[in-house]
Amino acid sequence: MIFGVRHSVAVAAALGTLAAVIIAVLTWKGAPVTSETFLVTTYIGLFLGALWAMYATGLVVVYTTTGVFNFAQGAIGVFAAFLYWELHVNRDWHSILALFVVVGLFAPALGVVLDILIMRRLRTASLVVQLMVTVAIMVLLLSVVGDIWEADTPRRVPYLFGINNGIDLGPSQLPWHRLIVFVVAIAIAVSMRFLLRRTRIGTAMRAVVDNRELAALNGARPNVVSSTSWALGSMMGALGGILIAPELGLDPATLNNVVIIAFAAAAFGALRNLPLAVVGAMLIGLLRAHTGAWLDFGPDFRFAHLSIAPLLLLFVVIALPQARLEVGRLAHHLRRHERYTKWWEGLLGCGVVILLAAAFSGGWLDFGGWDPGAWGSRELNSANEAMALALIGLSLVPLIGWAGQINFAPLAFAGFGAFVYLKLAGDTGNGYWILMVGLLCAPLGAIVALPAARLRGLYLALMTMAFAQAMSLIFFPHPWVMPIIGTGRQFPHIDLFGITFDDRRGFFMLMVSVFAIFVYALVLLRRSRYGRRWMAINDSQAAAATLGVPVVWTKVVVYAVSASMAGIAGVFWATVSGNVDSVQGFDLLLGFNIVLLVAAAGVSIPMAGIFLIFIPLFKGFGLRLEDAGNVDFLVTLLDIMTTYGPGLMVLGMVFNPRGAIFEMGRGFSPILPWRSDARAEIAAENAQKREPEIGELGLERPFTPEEVIAIDRRLEILDDVVPKEGYGTSRS
């Protein structure tokens, strides 16, 4: 199907090849092309491909059988590699024993525990929640690894059979380790393919993801199946981590980033086709090895060869067959009245934000014995950074919170805003250009939205991730984009209304007021027809389309709004530090953290965005406490909260998909004197809880044997390339 008649794929492949040829001609290094060099390079590429294929296989198996795309696959590999190092190197266990314990015992156990504790509960959750939870697991696993194995000493994982034993290939030799990796990767892929396609359990595994009840009727045990899948996926991640660690060295961030390459490979196989995923991994491996050998990208594009995977991912995702419109998921809650935040309530909230920020930072509030007093410049500096990140986070509220469009690239938008500002305002610091930045960033959002508009949620997430990665590898490190400066500030202090915001307190309050303006704008937007439409396409694109809502245009608008807000936030973000580190500043993990925070907040109601103000407030408060030195346990607590907080909060979404803040807001609103409706709702809810729940007719109706046979027939023979909706829609 993929290599069949589809025009878009053919055109995309042709364009890609053309682009590759042009780039190759432009950057040709001029090294002599000998058959020997070619051979060695090819062998390097295939070996790298095999490593990534192993990760990709795990991803595909888990996705095909549980419907969850596991962003934590790389982190599982990182954890396993460190554990293997601990056992084998640090404690001198035999390598086979250590390998068995990690891959054979620990990894499946981790997979099963994840499944039982978390993944099973995600079954009915929205895609946003599913994705966020796996990202949270990733971040948490990496933090745990960092805490257990400190980076004060470099670690090496040895090759399984030594690097210098191998088969002689004339001038060079092929080490056993690499041969084994290659064979094992292919063997795993083939056996998984066989398991999924040719065995009864495999059929059951694939069936479970489409219809648990049905599969259960046919004798499959869904829980056993999903635990098996997670155990298998986790084992493959662990094995991949242990085998790639000798190649890369044991560094959590570096090792974890490998998984992006695996994402690209998996996407190449449309996330479900194992053979194609392996081909994709090999393709990336070969491309990377050969670009390294023959091409020379120069200092300005020095990360170009590393960006092959994200670019391919971007390309594949865009070229993939157009996804059918998504079908929403049912959610059942107790009856709840919808209520718009009134415009004066928004204003009141903004006022509270500003006063709170001023009070916290100015030390106006008295915390008794704990009173940390007014913030010093260090507290303000940290709070300013957090404040800028909160602003960036706020830009995700309409995009993720309302329109349900996952975006892992908030930092890329913000960075673009900073870049535009740098080019417009130069070293004048003229703040009026910020409005222009907002206008110019909107088209970037629209450009991203165009492919995004036709993508399903998961592909969209992958696309934005690839976009973020490509921007951070190609765009931002370019010296023209963020020139390195020798002294002073690259981003001068902002000059607005005749005031130069060169002191940190003033700048803090400036950002707080921008924050307040953003929040107020969101309140008004949410009340507008755009806000309604964004939420409508989140709930059901299909239904929105059949009502005549132009889904693509609606998405373009929300992306543009978000990009515009992020761009403006980016100016402040860059101005806080004065100089943006063009390499580390746009780290993907930082972007993930922002998205996690927003998701954890559950910002589907605009006022929940206000929650983000507490990040800078707590940051400054915590530092101030630390300086005062009188409440150590609080400092420790805040420390733990900042390291593990976002991850843990997102895990909370497993039990409360609408986010912590949403529920907090529900608890808080009855306190407001004018919210009699909220009080009535709570009262009604309490009354309702006492009555036994009445099962709903229709949906709980058991399947008739005919239905079972009809669907079963389809499950048995349907090709798994067909999108999931194929099953649902053909069963009427």
């Binding site: 690097i163 010296p479 020798g486 707080v512 580390q584």
Partner: protein, 540 residues
């Protein structure tokens, strides 16, 4: 109606901001301190009579402008000298220095409690005052900032903090500095520009000086350089750093680094820059191992700053006759198998030289891959710099055998040849400490020497940030009491001419050149200066 809402909202927000910004003054940098009093100059005269005999100390030699080969001998001699006082003399490059502190240190060496001496104690003769921020009548607070607590790489430069604390303990146990005890504050810069700026801010408000700074992302040093002293003069905080990777840090006028970047300042960040590079080690190889060298230089290309430090060296190697067959960039994401491409370059050109500008792990990958690919390792001179001088490099085993490593200080196993090194090794309590522990210790010694000169000249109450800055800026040669290559802090043409070359033999670091233990090769020709646009030189 809608427009009205927007307008009202905006107006209200601005009004609120205006109200809350009312007290807009920056609370930073205005830490109150007792008004400093001018240190009475004559206080020193009373105690200055017992000057140590400086004539036979090595101070003269160190001051010698023609730092020729005789430097080696002299330094060796000096280090072998038992007297603590002589070491201190070597410190203070000042002939006329009336060094009462030295005297005091000498005595404290013999007797742990200096105050028991019936002799006139310079510290008792004056009422110690809080002369500047971070100084009280009995303490000097210094701040050590290092990248330690990144969530993904905790503990990275912990060694720097350990180094400074060890130095402070040692100074305190010997009676302190400027008649006061040193208190060490720690700050974690967390591989993060904001936290690094925070470190500068904390130092500005709470510490007298920064000692042992090991922060990779000092992207903005405005707060460092404009910090106000107790009198409100924005003169900056003295920053005795180990490494300065970013141009704003390298060119900070208050920063004095013990690993001198040897790069021209001020610098705009782009365009031509004069940089001086150490080539003595390769010159030695050309003269003694192989008269023709051609090969590959690996450029660590993750950060612009690492490129900017590697490229000058490549060009300097070419300047003295090395043929560069390839200068590929590597990143942390480069897998070992991808080093195969570099080996292929070496094969294509029959290279006999392989130099890594990156770290030990990179060199291990390179050599492992060479072995895997069946490259004849013995036909190649493998070379690496200080970053390979680590225990974890040796852990790689046979594969790194014969790798050359050059460093600019005496190696840790030669503590018997230099008192300062011996003190360091004893205080740090680690048979093979990380280099940044040594670097931060060296910062401590640098700070100590500057302070001692001030005290010797004008008494313990003359100690202000301004005095320390002036002292450091006039320092023409500092060599960590003979342990390190000397560096000149009085000029922007920073020269660190010395090196020593080691080779891994039988899984140990073995001294190759100079042959004599305790010596560095300090030929002025070791340094080649070139002016280029280094960012653009890199091929990628």
């Amino acid at each position: 109606m809608k427009h009205l809402r927007w307008t009202i909202g905006l107006l209200a927000i601005f009004a609120l901001v205006a109200v809350s910004c009312g007290g807009n003054d920056d609370s930073g940098g205005s830490a109150p301190a007792a008004a400093p009093t001018e240190a009475p100059d004559d206080s020193m005269d009373e105690s200055g009579g017992t000057a140590d005999d400086m004539d036979d100390s090595m101070g003269d030699d160190s001051m010698d402008d023609s730092m020729g080969d005789d430097m080696d001998d002299s330094m060796g001699d000096d280090s072998m000298d038992d007297s603590m006082g002589d070491d201190m003399g070597d410190d203070s490059m000042d002939d006329e220095m009336d060094d009462s502190m030295d005297d005091e240190m000498d005595e404290s060496d013999a007797e742990p409690v200096a105050t028991e001496e019936p002799e006139v104690d310079p510290c008792e003769a004056v009422d110690l005052e809080a002369t500047d921020i971070g100084i009280t009548s009995d303490t000097i607070t210094v701040l050590v900032m290092a990248d330690v607590g990144s969530p993904l790489a905790p503990g990275l430069f912990q060694g720097s903090i350990d180094g400074v604390k060890a130095w402070a303990n040692q100074v305190n146990s010997e009676g302190g500095l400027a008649c006061r005890q040193i208190e060490v504050l720690e700050h974690d810069s967390a591989i993060n520009p904001t936290e690094t700026t925070n470190g500068f801010l904390v130092a500005c408000e709470e510490a007298f000086a920064l000692v042992g700074t090991t922060a990779l992302f000092a992207l903005d040093t405005t707060d460092l350089q404009s910090c106000a002293d107790a009198q409100g003069n924005e003169i900056g905080v003295p920053d005795f750093a180990y490494i300065t990777t970013e141009p704003p840090h390298q060119c900070s006028v208050v920063t004095f680094a013990t690993s001198r970047p040897n790069s021209e300042c001020p610098y705009a960040g782009t365009g031509d820059r004069a940089v001086q590079s150490q080539v003595g080690h390769v010159q030695y190889l050309l003269e003694n191992v192989s008269s023709e060298l051609n090969g590959v230089y690996l450029i660590p290309s993750d950060l612009p700053s690492t490129i900017a430090t590697s490229m000058p060296q490549v060009r300097a190697f070419q300047e003295i006759g090395v043929v560069i067959d390839g200068e590929p960039g590597i990143s942390g994401f480069t897998t070992q198998s991808e080093y195969g491409a570099f080996i292929q370059i070496m094969r294509d050109n029959t290279s006999n030289f392989a130099y890594s500008g990156s770290d030990d792990q990179s060199m291990i990958k390179w050599r492992s891959e060479a072995e895997a690919q069946g490259l004849d390792a013995d036909s190649v001179i493998w070379m690496c710099q200080l970053a390979c001088y680590t225990p974890s490099f040796l852990e790689a085993g046979d594969v790194i055998e014969n790798t050359y490593i050059w460093i600019w200080f005496l190696p840790f196993d030669e503590a018997d040849t230099n008192q300062e090194l011996a003190d360091f090794m004893e205080a740090i309590d680690d048979p093979f400490p990380p280099a940044w522990a040594a670097g931060s210790w060296a910062d401590g010694v640098l700070f100590e020497q500057v302070v001692n000169e001030i005290v010797a000249e004008s008494g313990p109450n003359a100690l202000t940030r301004q005095a320390v800055l002036d002292g450091a800026r006039n320092l023409t040669s500092f060599d960590v009491n003979g342990w390190w290559s000397p560096a000149d802090y009085s000029t922007t043409e920073n020269i660190m001419p010395c090196f020593m070359l080691m080779q891994v033999q039988n899984n140990e670091f073995v001294r190759v050149h100079p042959a004599e233990r305790g010596e560095l090769d300090c030929n002025p020709d070791n340094v080649v200066g070139l002016t280029r646009d280094w960012g653009a030189e890199f091929g990628g």
